[in-house]
């Protein structure tokens, strides 16, 4: 394991090289480009698998780190490092594996895009950044990769930048996550200041190993220093993992190509936040206990809980197939956060893993659907695809069941654990989450029926099954969506966290199964019994809920709210300053000028015109001449500047000499 960690850098490096090579390839080299990316990703996957296998034999929460000096100036040295522990290994394996299949899918999805190589370049870079983030043993490197992930998401969301909506979405994603990053960066700075290092683990000197010490220091608002830093870091995670209120970018990110959505929503970007919280878990818990958790933990819990429920409700009211999935992602991320906030590192991380598989499956499936239906995204205009796209249907069904938490699919186990651990902490949160789980089952059922059941509502173009390179990935992923849940118990063991026996296991499990069943049943009742006949028909739910449905459909008007408050306020502030500048400052200046003019008038009128005027004229002339002379310095001629530079040097030397 100590040897393996020295090769961790290869995992992000290979996709990075692939990206670099891509950037030099001509546009026409599509096959070559895809081949390079897939090879690099596959090789990374193999390496990750090796690292994973290397961590398997160890039963303790063992980690190997490898730090090195990046560069040092004076007494400060900046270190970077790589880590290999079970969490990293599992995460890296997931990212590379899911990423690989997303890449495969993308070769099909993007097959007729003219910027194919550019797309794969960005995709590779994205994967590289995410992998770098995963293997980093250093907040600095983590932050660099974190920002790189943000940049790549920006590039990829706006891949079709010629669409105005995509251009807007890319900016939105970038700016929104940037808001979170401010917090994150502040947290890093404070950590660096307080702990003196940014290494996470460094043989007892790492930042996380000093968490206990940090918990003893005083921070802001009466929190301990550890909590303060944790809260700041969590703000970053909120941005990246799309937690309320910074969730608004995620659904808009659907403007990117579907493989990008899959990558963002399953394997990489949103996972980064959850992963980071998991990684910094020691800092979040430091100073608290099971009975009296820290503020940071509470914050994570409640933000997660609220996001889970809030997004789930929105997802119910969406018609765009990808948008519904996007809100579902938001909701699931809320689940993960909630689990972490409840102190359940293992359930949170485990749900992250299982979710990655089935959400990637669902997104790629939706991509297949979109391709199969000739770039149609509105679920109302689909229907009956089961006949036309049987493979996609079955895979999608597996994904849907996994997300809905139906046993024995992967989602059931992980979600069950999430609920269980939440149950320990707060019955209220648990209740809300259970309701969110019910909604999850409901909207997924709704989606299934709208898309696959009934008959084709999309018009003349008959849908068709997609090519093998698109359905193969979802088929592979669906295998994992079925089977991964059984490793839940093992995963806990593998992560090396021994949690005490939890009570209420059977109640929670039973209830969650029941809730899931109820959701599916309700979905069937509303959408399955009588499928939509044509696209213009109103949604059954809309009939029932009326205005509330519109509200859900418009995402609880959050965007509008932001427009009305923050953006408006910013605009107003800008306008205010403009007016202030125009009126007040200019007014003062004008006033001075007018006053001076007036005074001068008086003086001229009153005083001796010749004496004063003569002197004044001379002064003015002097100023004008000086100005003209100095203006000559600003000639645009480099040599002139160089001369002045040189003159300055000579003068400085003379001064020094005389001193």
């Amino acid at each position: 394991m100590n040897e393996l960690v020295k090769q961790q850098w290869l995992i992000p490096f290979l996709p990075l090289v692939a990206a670099a090579v891509q950037s030099l390839l001509p546009r026409k080299a599509r096959k070559l480009s895809a081949g390079i990316c897939l090879t690099a990703m596959g090789a990374s996957c193999v390496l990750a698998l090796r690292a994973f296998v290397g961590t398997l034999g160890h039963h303790e929460a063992e980690r190997a780190v490898w730090n090195f000096v990046w560069f040092d100036y004076g007494t400060t040295r900046l270190q970077l490092g790589f880590i290999l522990d079970p969490m990293t290994a599992a995460m890296a394996l997931m990212v590379t594996f899911v990423g690989f299949w997303i890449f495969v899918n993308a070769t099909g999805y993007m097959s007729d895009d003219e910027n194919f190589t550019r797309f794969f370049c960005f995709l590779s870079l994205f994967a590289a950044a995410m992998l770098g983030l995963v293997v980093a043993n250093n907040l600095l490197m983590l932050f660099m990769c974190w920002e790189l992930v943000g940049l790549c998401s920006y590039l990829l969301i706006g891949f079709w930048y010629f669409k105005p909506s995509a251009a807007t979405a890319m900016k939105k994603a970038f700016i929104t996550t940037r808001i979170g990053d401010v917090g994150f960066f502040l947290g890093i700075l404070m950590l660096s200041w307080q702990a003196g290092t940014l290494n996470l683990y460094d043989g007892g000197n790492g930042a996380l190993e000093q968490a206990g010490k940090l918990a003893g220091l005083h921070g802001w608002f009466g929190w301990s220093m550890a909590t303060t830093i944790a809260v700041l870091l969590f703000i970053g995670a909120m941005g990246k993992s799309a937690q309320f209120p910074l969730h608004v970018w995620l659904p808009d990110a659907m403007e990117g190509p579907t493989p990008v959505s899959a990558l963002i929503h399953a394997a990489t970007m949103v996972a980064a936040g959850v992963f980071m919280v998991g990684r910094m878990f020691a800092l979040f818990t430091a100073g608290g206990s099971a009975e009296h958790p820290t503020f940071a933990m509470d914050m994570v819990l409640w933000v997660g809980c609220f996001t889970a429920l809030f997004s789930a409700t929105i997802a119910v009211g969406q018609f765009d197939i990808k948008r519904a999935l996007a809100y579902s992602t938001c909701s699931q991320l809320g689940f993960m956060m909630m689990a972490l906030g409840a102190g359940g590192l293992v359930p949170g991380q485990f749900h992250l893993l299982t979710h990655a598989f089935f959400k990637a499956l669902l997104f790629l499936g939706s991509g297949c659907v979109i391709i199969g239906t000739h770039h149609e995204q509105d679920m109302r205009k689909m229907g009956g695809l089961r006949k036309y796209m049987p493979i996609t249907f079955w895979c999608y069904l597996i994904g849907m069941l996994a997300l809905a938490g139906v046993p024995p699919f992967a989602g059931f186990f992980s979600k069950d654990e999430v609920l269980l651990v939440t149950f320990q902490r707060s019955k209220v949160a648990w209740g809300l989450a259970t309701f969110a789980a019910f909604l999850t089952a409901f909207y997924m059922t709704r989606q299934m029926f709208m898309v696959f059941a009934g008959k084709w509502r999309g018009g003349h173009h008959e849908p068709h099954e997609v090519r093998w390179n698109m359905w193969l990935p979802i088929a592979v992923l669906s295998v994992f969506a079925i089977g991964l849940g059984f490793f839940g118990g093992k995963y806990e063991h593998y992560l090396g966290v021994h949690e005490e026996e939890l009570h209420g296991k059977s109640l929670v499990m039973g209830l969650s199964v029941a809730v899931g069943a109820a959701g599916i049943l309700l979905g069937w009742l509303m959408y399955g019994r009588k499928t939509m006949a044509h696209a213009e028909e109103p949604d059954p739910l809309e009939v029932k809920l009326g205005a509330l449905f519109t509200c859900l459909n418009r995402k609880w008007y959050v965007d509008e709210f932001y427009d009305a408050t923050i953006i408006r306020a910013t605009m107003l502030l800008g306008e205010f300053w403009r007016v202030f500048d125009n009126r007040v400052i200019d007014g003062i200046l004008h006033g001075i000028a007018w006053t001076a003019w007036g005074v001068s008038q008086v003086v001229r009128w009153v005083g001796d015109e010749f004496v004063i005027n003569g002197g004044f004229d001379a002064g003015c002339e002097g100023v004008r001449l000086t100005g003209r002379e100095f203006a000559k310095l600003q000639t645009g001629r480099i040599q002139g500047y160089l001369r002045i530079l040189c003159l300055g040097a000579v003068i400085l030397l003379v001064i020094w000499y005389l001193k």
């Binding site: 000639t635 645009g636 001629r637 480099i638 040599q639 160089l642 001369r643 040189c646």
Partner: protein, 103 residues
Amino acid sequence: MSVPLGYYLMLGGVLFCIGLCGALTRKNAIAVLMSIEIMFNAAILNFVVFWYYLHNGALTGQMFALFAIAVAAAESAVGLALVISVYRHYRSVDVDEMKALKG
């Protein structure tokens, strides 16, 4: 070799200033570039001199000189490409005439 360090430093300084003088006075952009090469070389000479006199044992001075030579090569390549490009705009390589910011 019994030349004290000071002479080398003075030599380097004088050479640098000759180059500087050229860079300040020549009108021809290529001549300016050549003058800059002289300045570069004077600096590189100082690297080696300091290595030889002060840091014997470690090769940092030589390494630096090596890298500086490489950078200078790159610099002259780009610089001359710029000169050629500018020449196409103005049909002249007179630096005094290159004062407009747009081509």
